[in-house]
Amino acid sequence: MSNVSVQVSNLVTRLRAGEVGALARAISLVDSHHDAGSAIHRIVHPYSGQTEVIGITGPPGTGKSTLVNALVSELRSKNKRVAVVAVDPSSPITGGSVLGDRTRMGDHTSDSGVFIRSLAAHGHLGGLSSSILKVIDLIDAAGWDVVVLETVGAGQSETEIAEIADISVVVNAPGLGDDVQAIKAGILEIADVLVVNKADSPQAKRTERQLKAMLELRKEESSHVPIVNTVATTGEGVDELLEAIVEKGNSKFNSSKKERLLSRVRRIVAQEAAEQARRVVLRDQDESTLSLLEGVISGECEYEETITHVMSRYYAQQDK
C-alpha cells in the first residue's frame, strides 16, 4: 500500500468517526478537484445517501441567509444535525472569492450539531454540480442528517445547484424593485416550496398574490407548490416552512429513499452530460463543424442539423 492510500484511508476513518477537521479537509480536496478528493469520495460514496438536501435560493435582499439561520434553529429543535453549505460566486479571472455568507449564521457557531461550510462557485472550472454533490456525499458519510444548500444571488448557477437539492425552496420578499420580476422564471420552475419572507411588511400580501398568479402560468397543473409566509428575523412561520418541506418531500418521492436518490442522480447525470457536451462543442475546431457553423450565419444551414452533427461527433469521440 502506498503512503497516499494510508493517508486517504486515515482521513476517511476520521471523517466517518465524526471528526469535523477531517470532514473539513476532505471537502477542500473534493471541492478543488484534487486527486485525493476523488479517492476519498470513492471510499465514502457507499456510506452516503442518508442525508436530505434542502436547497434554498432566491434573489439578493430577500433575507435568505437569515431564513437559513432560522431554519437551522428549527431543525435543531427537532434534534437534527444540520450541515449548511453556502455557495458564493468566485471571480472568473483570479479564481479567488470572498465568502461572506456564513457570517449570518452567528446563532449556531458554537453548536456542535451544526456544521457550516462556504464554497466558491469556481465559475471557470465547470462541474459545479458534481463538486457540490460530492461534498454533500462527504457530509452525508460523516453522519449529518440534513444539508441545507444555500446559493447566493440571482441567475447563472441557481437552477443548476437547485437540481442537486431534493427539495428546492425559492425565497422572495416584498419590495425588491419590480416586485416578483426579481424572481426569474427559471428559478420559479424549480421551486418545490415558495417563501414570502419579510411577511410582516405591508406589501407582502401583494407579493404572495403575484407569486400565485405566476404559479398558475406554470404548465404542470399537477404539481402543487405551497407558498409559506415567514419573518426570518423573528422566526415566524419557519415551523410551517419546515412542515411544507417535509410534506413536499413525502409526496415528491412517495417516502421512498431510493426514488429520491434515483431522481437526484438522474438530475446530476443530465447536468454533467450537458456540461460535458458543452465543453466538447466549444472546443470542436473540426473543419466540418466550422463550415456548418458558418452555414448557420449565412443561412445555408439550420441549427438543428448543426446540432445533430456536433452531437454525432461527440458520440464518435466517446466511442474512441
Partner: protein, 151 residues
C-alpha cells in the same frame, strides 16, 4: 508533498479575514480581503465582533490555512488568547497575521504568541499578499507534519 495536504499551487489557499473584540471599523479588513481574493485565494470574510470561540470553529469547519485579524482599537490585546484557543483546538498549524494600529511596545507580546506577520499603517498590497502566501505555504507544511504525526 503529500496527497492530503496539497501545496498552495495545487489547491486554493483558504484565508479567514476577521475581527475580534469590540471595534467595528472594517475598511481595512475589507481591503485586505479584496487583496487576497485578487491574489486567487478563497477568503472567508466575517464582520467585526467575532468571539474567539467562533473564530476557532470557523477556522476548523472552513479548513483555513491562515487567519488575518484587523485591529484598530486595542483588540490585538486579546489575540494571544485566540492563539491559545487555536492550539487547544488542535489548529496550531494555522498561521495568523494582524494588521492595523499595533503599538511598538505591544508587538513583542504578539510575536511571542506566534503571530506570523504584523502590518502597520501604510503597508502595501505586495507586502501583505507576499506575507499571506508565505504563511499559507508554511501552514500547509505544518498541516502535513501534523497529519503525519497522527498516522
Amino acid at each position: 508533498m503529500s496527497q492530503i495536504t496539497p501545496n498552495v499551487a495545487e489547491t486554493p489557499v483558504r484565508a479567514l479575514i476577521t475581527k475580534i473584540g469590540f471595534d467595528g471599523h472594517d475598511r481595512g479588513s475589507r481591503i485586505v480581503a479584496a487583496y487576497l481574493r485578487d491574489a486567487g485565494m478563497e477568503v472567508i470574510y466575517t464582520p467585526p465582533w467575532q468571539e474567539i470561540d467562533s473564530v476557532v470553529q470557523l477556522a476548523l469547519q472552513e479548513d483555513v490555512d491562515l487567519i488575518g485579524i484587523s485591529s484598530l482599537a486595542t483588540d490585538h490585546l486579546i489575540v494571544p488568547d485566540l492563539m491559545n484557543a487555536l492550539r487547544e483546538a488542535g489548529l496550531g498549524e494555522i498561521e495568523v497575521f494582524i494588521g492595523g494600529i499595533i503599538p511598538e511596545q505591544e508587538r513583542p507580546m504578539l510575536i511571542e504568541a506566534g503571530l506570523g506577520g504584523i502590518f502597520g499603517p501604510g503597508s502595501t498590497r505586495e507586502d501583505i499578499v507576499e506575507c499571506a502566501q508565505r504563511l499559507a505555504t508554511s501552514a500547509r507544511r505544518k498541516k502535513e507534519q501534523a497529519f503525519e504525526r497522527r498516522l
